[in-house]
């Protein structure tokens, strides 16, 4: 439909629609864009110019290298990367296996176990850390990357829910016919059902991946060693030494944003469908 053919109300609605969307996009991006401008300014330039002024050059990378060094951010990326890979892989397997057992086998206590997981989701995560800390201390898991990974796997129930929901929509006849063909339960799970879980796996990768990458509270509590900083805790160290030198801080902020921005550009559709599936299908 061309503009000429539009009814006046439709035309007004279209203008209103685009204006509101453009305004919202600007509001969403503006705080980030100002960070981009500031991150490229030298300290003198930063002190002399308004924050909204363009930097003299977009090729001034000094702030980034200072930020990387000061907060040891390479180490942070490495640690967060290791944690992400291990936690995501393990929780996809544990989550889908548990969901398989709870959904397909009815046995004494299966209902109770189901309810235990349900109720656990109500207990606020940060609240229990007061006592989890003491357990971590007794198990000697503090200041070990694997300790942090274990507590992340143990306190996050999201993948279990996603898989439980997904299994409800997988027909049992699939299992039955495979078993008739002489397949074992292990075979049913790994050969027949697991490949069908792909959408649920994407959903849980997206939701959990974002959660783990953003996690601050527990990594702050359980990884206090300088070499064990994750990307969140590394970034948080900017609070002290840089004070109001936002040209360095903004560079640090951008360093944490860039990888996730690139991933988002590549996997945009998967991220949206993962999000939406998390809402509609579970």
């Amino acid at each position: 439909m061309t503009i000429m053919k539009m009814k006046p109300t439709t035309f007004l609605f279209t203008v209103f629609k685009y204006l509101s969307i453009i305004l919202a996009s600007i509001v969403a991006l503006l705080p980030i864009c100002v960070c981009v401008l500031t991150a490229f300014k030298t300290t003198e330039e930063y002190n002399a110019t308004s924050v909204l002024d363009l930097p003299a050059s977009f090729l001034y990378f000094e702030n980034f290298s200072v930020a990387l060094k000061q907060a040891n951010m390479f180490r942070g990326f490495l640690n967060t990367g290791i944690v992400l890979v291990v936690v995501l892989i393990v929780s996809i397997f544990t989550g889908s296996m548990l969901a398989y057992v709870l959904n397909r086998f009815k046995f004494k206590g299966s209902g109770i176990i189901h309810s235990l997981f349900m109720f656990a989701s109500l207990i606020p995560g940060i609240a229990t850390q007061v006592t989890v800390y003491q357990i971590m201390y007794r198990l000697h898991l503090i200041n070990h990357l694997y300790g942090y990974m274990i507590v992340l796997m143990g306190t996050d129930i999201i993948s279990i829910y996603i898989f439980l929901q997904f299994f409800e929509n997988l027909p049992v006849s699939l299992d039955e016919s495979a078993i008739m063909d002489g397949c074992t339960y292990f075979g049913v799970f790994f050969k027949i059902l697991f490949p069908l879980l792909k959408p649920a796996i994407v959903t849980s990768l997206v939701l959990k991946g974002v959660g783990v990458y953003n996690e601050y509270y527990m990594s702050n509590l359980y990884l206090q060693d300088k070499n064990l900083k994750t990307i969140s805790t590394a970034l948080y160290t900017f609070t002290g030494p840089f004070g109001n030198q936002y040209n360095y801080i903004c560079a640090g902020v951008l360093i944490t944003i860039i990888p996730i921005f690139i991933l988002f550009l590549i996997f945009q559709e998967q991220v949206y469908s993962g999000m939406a599936a998390g809402a509609v299908k579970g």
Partner: protein
């Protein structure tokens, strides 16, 4: 064992052997597949949970030594202590923010249902803040709100003199609004994507058919879009109550809970880890849990009685799923 079963010939005898072996296999699968998650659940959720209940009746510190039994005193203190009580009031700001956030998300999701050119770009821009880690969001807005920096410069650009601009983070009348706004900024796009997903699960031909039939935009929203997502919107509203009580990162990073911005979690964190009042912090956690359980019961009753008109089976199933996912993700957050 499993190989033997698989290789067994399909005679009648083989079938029974198969079944027998299956019983053992069944137990093996159940045990093997559940042992890891159940152990983790016990060690990191239920043991800490019962410890928390126990601690809440004691006056105790970190370091392991047993505290003294104080009965219900910790619980009484939660309601008497002004900082705890104030923090409950602070969450009202976040609840207000959550309502605005849902309204905006609903609005923009609806806009995207009516074809938007370049929607990928706009959707991406609005959604992206959700992917930025909480600490980075904190720094971005510390910079944004600081005196004479981003927001102030913008307002000055539009001709507002600096003297008339309030201190966004220091002025106790508005600083909680500033902080709650960062939450809206961060989560609005994600909410929008959720709503959009639900709206698109309706047959999109309906929209075209309706517009051909001369239904205006408001009617399309009122009679096609809204019914398809009513349950999810109400669910999100109820969830926002417990979500607001659990708000933590914005005040923690931006103001460190000073100047009257301490939310429930920030105060609890301070009591537990700085003031070493572990018993009191545990009592606060139990009170919070009680509120969350109440909200969940209310939510279940609401969906049972209010939406139970027999016409929305599909959307209710979706809501049940959403409830689980939302709870799970809240737990993860």
């Amino acid at each position: 064992m499993s190989n033997m079963t698989a290789a067994a010939p399909k005679t009648r005898k083989g079938f029974w052997e198969n079944m027998k072996a299956r019983k053992g296999q069944r137990i093996l699968v159940i045990v093997l597949f559940m042992i890891v998650p159940l152990t983790l659940l016990a060690v990191f959720t239920y043991i800490p949970f019962f410890e928390m209940i126990r601690f809440s009746f004691y006056n105790m510190k970190y370091g392991g030594q047993e505290g003294t039994w104080v009965g219900l005193n910790n619980y009484i203190e939660v309601f008497k202590r002004s900082e705890c009580f104030k923090s409950l009031l602070v969450s009202v700001y976040y609840m207000g923010g959550a309502v605005i956030q849902l309204a905006l998300a609903l609005f923009f999701a609806t806009m995207f249902v009516f074809n938007v050119k370049g929607s990928g770009l706009f959707k991406g821009a609005m959604f992206f803040p959700y992917l930025i880690c909480g600490i980075a969001v904190g720094f971005i807005f510390k910079f944004f709100y600081a005196r004479g920096y981003v927001l102030d410069s913008l307002l000055q650009m539009f001709g507002v003199p600096l003297e008339e601009i309030p201190y966004w983070l220091q002025d106790q009348r508005i600083n909680n609004i500033s902080l709650a706004a960062t939450s809206v900024w961060r989560y609005m796009g994600q909410n929008m994507i959720l709503f959009l997903g639900a709206m698109m699960s309706v047959d999109t031909d309906l929209y075209e058919a309706a517009s051909l039939d001369g239904a205006n935009k408001w009617h399309q929203f009122r009679y096609i879009i809204l019914p398809s997502i009513k349950s999810i919107v109400v669910l999100n509203l109820i969830l926002s109550i417990s979500g607001s009580l659990s708000a933590f990162e914005p005040p923690y990073v931006i103001t460190n809970g000073t100047m009257g911005t301490g939310t429930y979690f920030v105060i609890m964190n301070r009591l537990a880890h700085e003031n070493q009042k572990v018993g009191l912090a545990c009592a606060m956690a139990i009170v919070l849990l009680a509120i969350i359980v109440l909200c969940t019961v209310a939510q279940n009753l609401f969906f049972k009685y209010v939406f139970n008109d027999g016409t929305e089976d599909e959307s209710k199933a979706a809501v049940r799923a959403k409830k689980r996912a939302a709870k799970a993700s809240k737990r993860g957050a």
